[in-house]
Symmetry: C2
């Protein structure tokens, strides 16, 4: 049995998972950021112990513990390098969990963990090389190469949201101008539509502007909705063609809240990306919707150790 933990800024999801990818039992607790990291990690330990007890087993029945979190994780040292949502920097998360449970502990960026779950049990299953792009408030990415997570030489790879794709009217939190997530995230869509209304005086039927209402409005023919979706599609397509031209994966899966727009989104993306192929002499990878939703992070985290050491 495996333990998977999805550590987020709002909640910590944990579960016991079997080797077939079934989540046997799970729970969620409030993260409570702002507290000492020791308290948060102690809560996480108690959460896992309660899961073991509730499932009628003990730590002896566990192969390994895996954690995904939204940041840079040094799996070699056991330290969280940087996790802005938790205000964490240089936190010995892996070391503390290992000392407490005396089990192998693996750490990864949560989007990488989700990409692994999709490649083992979801939308990219069977693909040798695949990429997951998660689109919510920001844009995250996970790269699978040769069936394994690829996180780079300093655990800083697959930051697809920070690929610079052109000048934009506002700066990214990372300090740069032109990051993909400032064009194609849910927040970017909202900012653009609000900008068009408040600065350019565009009229719209959308009352509560957010990614969902913008997509809904576009489907119903609202001009600002269409314009905002088209702009998002244009830049996300540039991001996708850049991934194809660099990594040439078999599949790119789109996850995160914005993927709820469904085939309306992927149909438009396929059309737009298709126009930008470098050559029509090869078949490019498919663009699909992620399948595992919110479970991907926990599930992928559970399989980190197995993925790391598989041949």
């Amino acid at each position: 049995m495996l333990v998977g933990i999805d550590l987020g800024g709002t909640e910590i999801k944990a579960g016991l998972v079997d080797r077939d990818g079934r989540i046997l039992i799970r729970s969620s607790i409030v993260t409570g950021t702002g507290r000492s990291y020791r308290l948060i990690i102690e809560d996480m330990q108690k959460q896992v112990e309660k899961l073991l007890k509730d499932y009628g087993t003990s730590i002896d029945g566990i192969e390994s513990i895996g954690i995904g979190a939204p940041g840079l994780m040094n799996d070699r040292s056991g330290y969280v390098i940087y996790c802005p949502n938790l205000f964490w920097e240089n936190i010995p998360l892996g070391i503390m969990l290992h000392e407490h449970f005396n089990k192998p502990v693996y750490m990864e960026n949560d989007a990488n963990a989700a990409a692994l779950a999709e490649s083992l049990f979801g939308s990219t299953k069977g693909a040798v090389n695949s990429v997951l792009i998660t689109i919510g408030t920001g844009i995250g990415g996970g790269i699978i190469i040769d069936h394994k997570i690829y996180s780079g030489s300093h655990f800083a790879g697959s930051e697809i949201g920070h690929m610079i794709v052109g000048p934009n009217f506002y700066r990214c939190n990372c300090g740069n101008n032109g990051c993909l997530e400032t064009f194609a995230s849910a927040l970017a869509m909202k900012k653009y539509a609000v900008h068009r209304v408040e600065i350019d005086g565009i009229k719209t039927s959308i009352t509560n502007i957010n990614a969902k209402t913008i997509f809904d409005a576009a489907k119903e023919g609202d001009q600002l909705g269409i314009e905002t979706v088209d702009r998002m599609i244009k830049y996300l397509s540039i991001g996708i063609i850049n991934v194809f031209n660099l990594l040439d994966p078999e599949i790119i899966a789109i996850g995160g809240g914005v993927s709820k727009a469904g085939s309306y989104l992927t149909d438009k993306l396929k059309e737009e990306v298709g126009k930008m192929y470098f050559t029509h002499r090869i078949q490019y990878g498919d663009i699909v919707l992620a399948q595992l939703g919110n479970e991907a992070g926990l599930l992928g985290a559970a399989f980190l150790g197995i993925n790391k050491y598989q041949k």
Copy 2:
């Protein structure tokens, strides 16, 4: 002993190479594009046979034959998928060489072959993950992951020159607007400077405008030279930061004709890229000059088979 062949639009360079990466004997013949591909491949066969004879050996002493060419090469089928400089599409290059010599034949994009050579014997030696960016008339790229060439699922990866980084005043040959090579190649620099002179009426001391004279003029304080170099650096830095944020390699090496600008180029790149790091909490990869020059293609081609099957 290994045979390496660097098949270009102008000349075909071939050589016998030992396992330590020494080129024992080499020759160059004119490609003669426009002729039937059979004639070109027959010339290549004769070229290799002459090298063997001149070196006093025979094909029996050869482990494998490797070919790099500027295009998409299907190493599984033995076909060149597409090689625009040679006007080749679906050409059974690998099959014909294998039938003729009865030896294992390996094919790769020439920038990938060069990246392999740099990682075995040159600027990126020892790095687990590295990237070579070759900047000449166009921009090519080679990606090494876990000491091996990474060319993607359809042999279409590492096209770094076609990463879209922002809108430009002219379109790329690939049909898209905004490709890195339309901002940062030697041709892009020339086109921009000429555009500034002819369209915008800018005055300059540069008489024969090309990448070299532009760099020379910039070093001597010419305004258009400085502006053109700065623009090139700006966009190449965006391309490099995108590679760091996606692949996080230990080293990025800059090769091709433009790399003759030397440390003047890499110093400026390091400064500009350093401003764009996603976080300063990790050490990013180094930016260095490629070391093997024109030999990289031939040398890397020779080692394709060894690289493919190494553990």
